[in-house]
C-alpha cells in the first residue's frame, strides 16, 4: 500500500487497476442467478420437503410454511442490503455485527456461519450419495449406509479440492446449470399437477387455496417448528448479496438482485411443494423423507428416463450449494483470522491457487469427521441435523437484522424510508427468527421430539444446534485471552452520508 516501503528503482509504488472485468457478463441478471443458485432450490426441496410435511400439526399446509418462511428472509435481505451500503466491500455477519454491536456478538455470528457450514455439509454429502446411486437405479447401494457414506465423503473431498484449487464456476456456467435446474423443477411440478387433474392417481389430492394459508396450521408450535426447517430453503442468497464489486452500481444492485432472487425462489418452492403434495399426498412424502424425489416420485410423475433429469437437477443443485457453502465460510474464517479473532493460520493463502488454504482444508476435514460421526450415531440423527442447522441460521441471520437497525440508529428517524427499510423490517426479521429459535428450542429439546433417539436426554436438533452454539460461547470466552485486542474493539455507528443520497434498492417491497 505505502509506496515508501518499496525500495526506489524497484518499480516504485504499486498501482491497483481494474482490467478485463466483463461488466456485461457479471450483471444484474448474474447476481440474481448467483442468489438463486446459491440457495440451491432443488437440493433444498429434496432435503426439507418431507420433513416439513412430517411435522405434527402442519398437515396440508406445508406450502404455506414455505411461503411464510420467506417473510423473515425478506426482512433480513433488507438488513444485508443496508449493511452492504455502509461499505460495499465490508463483509457479512461477522464483520457487520462486530462493527455494529460489538466483537462478542460478531464473533458468535462468525461461529454460527462455520457451524452451519459443517452441519450442512454432512447433509449435502448424504443427499449427494443417495441421489448418485439412484441416478443409476442402483437401489441396493442407495440403501446401504456404508456405500452412501463412502460416496458422501468422496463428495466432500472433491468439493473441498475444487475450492482449494480455486475453481469457481463462471457466471455463464452457473446460469446454464440453474436454468436447467429451474426448468426441470417447473416441468416436474406442471406434469404432476396435470396428472392430478387429468388422471387423479392414487392418494392424489386436488390443491386447495387453504394449502397456502398459514392460519390453517393447527398450532403456533407447528408453524414455528416448520419455519425453523423452512428458513433453510432460503439460506444462501447472501452469497449473491455480498458479491458486489463486479456490478456497475455496487451500492444498490446486489440488494435488488437479492430481493428478486428471493421472489423467484418463493414461486419455485410454492409451486413444487404444492405439486408434490397434490400428486403423492403427505403420507408418501413423509415416508420418503430422505429422498423425496428419487424415492419413486420422480419416476412416477415424469416416467423413465426423464425422471433422471430431476435427480441430476438435485445433484447439480447440491454441488452448487456445496461450493457456495465452502467458499464463503472459508472466507469468514479467513476474515476472522485477519481481524485477529481466530488463529492466524486460518488467514493463510495458497501461494499458487490463491485460495484460503488452511481455512478451506479445515472446513473440509471437520465436515468429514462430523459426517462420519453422525452417520455412525444414526442416519435419523443426520436427518434431524437439518433442524439443528436452523438454529444456527436463525441466530446469525437474526443478529444481522438487529445489527442493521442498531448500526443505523441515528439515521432511522431522518426519513420514513430509512425507518421502514433499515429499521423496522430488519428488526421484524430478527424478532421473527429469534421467536422461531426460542419456540423451536422449547419443542425440540424434548427427548421424544423426533424420529431419532435423544442425545443425553435432549432432542437431537437442540443437542446439536444449541450444543454447537454453546461450544462457541465457551471457545469465545477462551479466545478473549489470545485475542484480547479484537475483543476490546468498540462498536461504530453508521456514517450519516451513507443514507443521505440514493434511493433505497427495495421500493415496493411487498411480496408477502
Amino acid at each position: 500500500m505505502e509506496s515508501a516501503s518499496v525500495a526506489s528503482g524497484s518499480g516504485g509504488p504499486v498501482e491497483v487497476v481494474d482490467k478485463g472485468l466483463k461488466k456485461n457478463a457479471i450483471s444484474f441478471v448474474s447476481n440474481i442467478v448467483i442468489g438463486v443458485a446459491s440457495t440451491a432450490p432443488g437440493y433444498s426441496l429434496a432435503a426439507t420437503l418431507g420433513f416439513v410435511v412430517a411435522i405434527g400439526g402442519i398437515g396440508l399446509q406445508a406450502p404455506a410454511v414455505m411461503l411464510v418462511a420467506f417473510i423473515p428472509m425478506f426482512c433480513i435481505a433488507m438488513a444485508y442490503n443496508y449493511m452492504n451500503r455502509a461499505d460495499p466491500d465490508c463483509g457479512t455477519t461477522f464483520s457487520w455485527v462486530t462493527r455494529a454491536i460489538g466483537p462478542r456478538s460478531g464473533w458468535m455470528g462468525g461461529w454460527a456461519i462455520i457451524v452451519a457450514d459443517i452441519i450442512v455439509m454432512a447433509n449435502l454429502a448424504q443427499i449427494a450419495g443417495i441421489y448418485s446411486f439412484k441416478l443409476f437405479d442402483w437401489n441396493s447401494a442407495a440403501n446401504s449406509t456404508f456405500a452412501v457414506t463412502l460416496v458422501g465423503v468422496l463428495w466432500i473431498v472433491v468439493m473441498t479440492a475444487i475450492c482449494y484449487i480455486g475453481i469457481e464456476l463462471s457466471a455463464r456456467t452457473q446460469q446454464f446449470l440453474l436454468g436447467a435446474e429451474v426448468i426441470t423443477l417447473v416441468v416436474f411440478a406442471v406434469v404432476a399437477l396435470v396428472k392430478v387433474y387429468a388422471d387423479a392417481p392414487a392418494h392424489s389430492i386436488e390443491p386447495a387455496l387453504s394449502w397456502i394459508n398459514p392460519f390453517e396450521i393447527s398450532s403456533f408450535s407447528a408453524l414455528a417448528d416448520g419455519m425453523l426447517l423452512a428458513v433453510f430453503i432460503y439460506w444462501g442468497w447472501d452469497s449473491g448479496v455480498t458479491v458486489n464489486e463486479e456490478t456497475e452500481d455496487s451500492s444498490t444492485a446486489p440488494g435488488r438482485a437479492a430481493v428478486i432472487s428471493t421472489i423467484i425462489l418463493l414461486a419455485i418452492y410454492a409451486l413444487v411443494s404444492i405439486a408434490a403434495q397434490a400428486y403423492a399426498g403427505p403420507a408418501a412424502l413423509i415416508k420418503a423423507q430422505n429422498d423425496v424425489f428419487s424415492g419413486g416420485l420422480a419416476s412416477s410423475v415424469l416416467g423413465s428416463p426423464l425422471d433422471k433429469l430431476l435427480i441430476i437437477a438435485v445433484l447439480t443443485s447440491a454441488s452448487a450449494s456445496t461450493q457456495t457453502t465452502i467458499l464463503p465460510t472459508a472466507r469468514t474464517s479467513l476474515s476472522m483470522a485477519r481481524q485477529k479473532a481466530f488463529p492466524a493460520v486460518f488467514g493463510r493463502i495458497h501461494p499458487r491457487y490463491l485460495s484460503p488454504s488452511v481455512s478451506t482444508l479445515t472446513m473440509g476435514a471437520l465436515s468429514i469427521v462430523w459426517y462420519i460421526a453422525i452417520v455412525n450415531l444414526s442416519t435419523n440423527v443426520l436427518a434431524d441435523s437439518i433442524t439443528a442447522l436452523g438454529f444456527s441460521i436463525a441466530f446469525y441471520y437474526g443478529i444481522t437484522g438487529f445489527a442493521c437497525a442498531f448500526y443505523y440508529r441515528r439515521e432511522l428517524f431522518k426519513s420514513a424510508k430509512n425507518l421502514f427499510f433499515a429499521g423496522f423490517l430488519p428488526v421484524l426479521g430478527g424478532l421473527i427468527l429469534f421467536g422461531i429459535f426460542v419456540k423451536a428450542f422449547l419443542d425440540y429439546r424434548k427427548a421424544d421430539c423426533c424420529t431419532s433417539k435423544a442425545i443425553l436426554g435432549i432432542g437431537p436438533p437442540v443437542a446439536i444446534g444449541i450444543g454447537a452454539l454453546l461450544l462457541g460461547v465457551v471457545i469465545m470466552i477462551i479466545a478473549h485471552w489470545p485475542y484480547r485486542e479484537f475483543f476490546r474493539r468498540k462498536p461504530e455507528v453508521a456514517d450519516p452520508s451513507v443514507l443521505a443520497e440514493s434511493a433505497p434498492a427495495a421500493s415496493g417491497g411487498g411480496g408477502s
Binding site: 518499480g11 498501482e15 478485463g20 466483463k22 457479471i26 455480498t242 457456495t324
Partner: protein, 139 residues
Amino acid sequence: MEDIILGYDGSDCAKAALALATETAKAMGDRVVVVWTIEAHHTGGEVKDYEDALKEMGERVTAEGAEVAAAAGVETERLLVHGDSPASALSELADERKARVIVVGTHGESPLKGALIGSTPHKLIQLARTPVLVVPAPS
C-alpha cells in the same frame, strides 16, 4: 520505450519468465511491468478481507520481482490488476499499453491437469491480441 507485460506470481516458472523478460527489456530498451492479477469472485462471504490478503501478497511478490529486474538496470513498474481472469486482465492491459509482448511462466503440466485447474498461458494464447511468450520452469 515499449512495455513488456509480465504476469508474475513468484513461482519458479514466473521467475524464469522474469529473467527472460528482464533480458529482453535490456536488449530492447523496454520497461518491465510486473503484474499480479486478482480474480473477481462470483460467490460471496467476507470478500473484503480475502481481497486484502491477496493484495498484500501481490504487493510483496511484485516488489520482489521488480527488484530483480531493477537490479539488472531495467526500468520497472508494478501493477495489481483486478480482472475476470488472469488471462483477460493481462491481455486487456497489453492492448491498452500497446505492449511489445506478454511474458508468462508455465508450470509444464499435462493438458488434462491444465484444463482442470485452469491454465493461464492457454487462455492467454487464445485471448491476446499481443504476442505471448511462454516460459517453462527450469527443469
